[in-house]
Symmetry: C2
Subunit: 205 residues, 2 copies
């Protein structure tokens, strides 16, 4: 049955575009929003709009940041010779929560995925190579999801980084194969950072 | 760990106010929105804002509607003597999908819930009594949730409607069609035994 209001219909359609939200859930969310006062709904819509319009990225690590150089990259007590390569900010948050890593990050903005039309040129790989070329980097730790796309990206990065004579390590496969990084528990993720291995050792059968 | 961006933080906070969405899911939704182009995110935010600002309600049944009198209330082939009382539009959609009801609706906008500070005066009950007072109503069907709040509301409505001499019925409670008997809760099963019907009546149609 079509809904009795195109305004409601549109809102439900839009909410249903969110990952993991079906039309039934979208309807529930829309009705919940309808019950709130107008000011609260404006704050909701504006927070999303402003995030998309005004968000900035750190000039060094490409992470989402409100400053030109993010807090982690400008901290004095972190090891600037150690760079941990991750997919997105949720991986940074997850790794920070383990308290096992005191280096800097590099946020790729995704992984290589031909199926989704994401190639190496769509990721912040050039900036990573630049950071290595600037010198002082003693180790690059690859901390990508243990998926086909993550492994492909790690393979590609190791190849490019090896040409630049920088040791490349991979976080230990304590994390479950096929799992998304954001769903790994902190203990396993922390252990996998402690147990990282040289790339050549990590990928041998 | 606090996020590196207050813009992202705000968006995640707002998304986490939605029912059933925790902070982790909210982060996933925010990152998904961030990956879309600006136009798509504007359409998303605007659909929600416009729904809240411009939505209207049917003057007769109080359902969400783009017209002063909704499609169902203005239809010529529906029984105007039969009013089904429901909580919200999602119940209307669910009942319409059964194709078993050809009367009109009355949308209360919720149920009486002292815990949430919702009293009878917060619901569209006065308008329901008005409709009955206008005459021509042969039966009011109460189709509220089988919860403490739903039952309280049904009790209250039956009392007020009985004073107006209109027959009040309640939708049947019992085991669900196609359900295993061993998975039915005791209350429902007990109720379905008390409300048993002659076989010939139960299997008709």
């Amino acid at each position: 049955m079509p809904l009795s209001s195109t305004l409601l219909e549109n809102a439900v359609d839009q909410l249903a575009t969110l990952p993991g939200i079906g039309r039934r859930s979208a309807m529930r969310l829309a009705l919940d929003l309808l019950r709130r006062d107008a000011g609260a709904v404006h704050r909701f819509a504006d927070a999303i709009r402003r995030m998309r319009d005004e968000i900035q990225y750190c000039n060094v690590c490409c992470n989402i940041s409100d400053r030109p150089v993010c807090e982690i990259c400008s901290a004095h007590d972190r090891d600037k010779g150690l760079i941990c390569v991750v997919e997105d900010i949720s991986a940074v948050v997850a790794i920070e929560n383990t308290h096992q890593f005191k280096g800097l990050y590099h946020v790729l903005g995704g992984v290589i995925s031909p199926m989704d039309g994401v190639g190496p040129e769509d990721l912040h790989i050039a900036r990573l190579l630049e950071r290595v070329a600037e010198g002082g980097v003693k180790e690059v730790v690859l901390a990508l999801s243990a998926t086909l796309e993550g492994d492909t990206t790690s393979f590609f990065l190791n190849k490019r980084l090896s040409e630049r004579d920088v040791p490349v390590t991979v976080i230990a496969r304590g994390i479950s194969i096929g799992g998304d990084l954001e769903h790994v528990d902190e203990l396993t993720l922390g252990r996998s950072i402690m147990d990282r291995k040289p790339y050549e050792q990590a990928v041998r059968r």
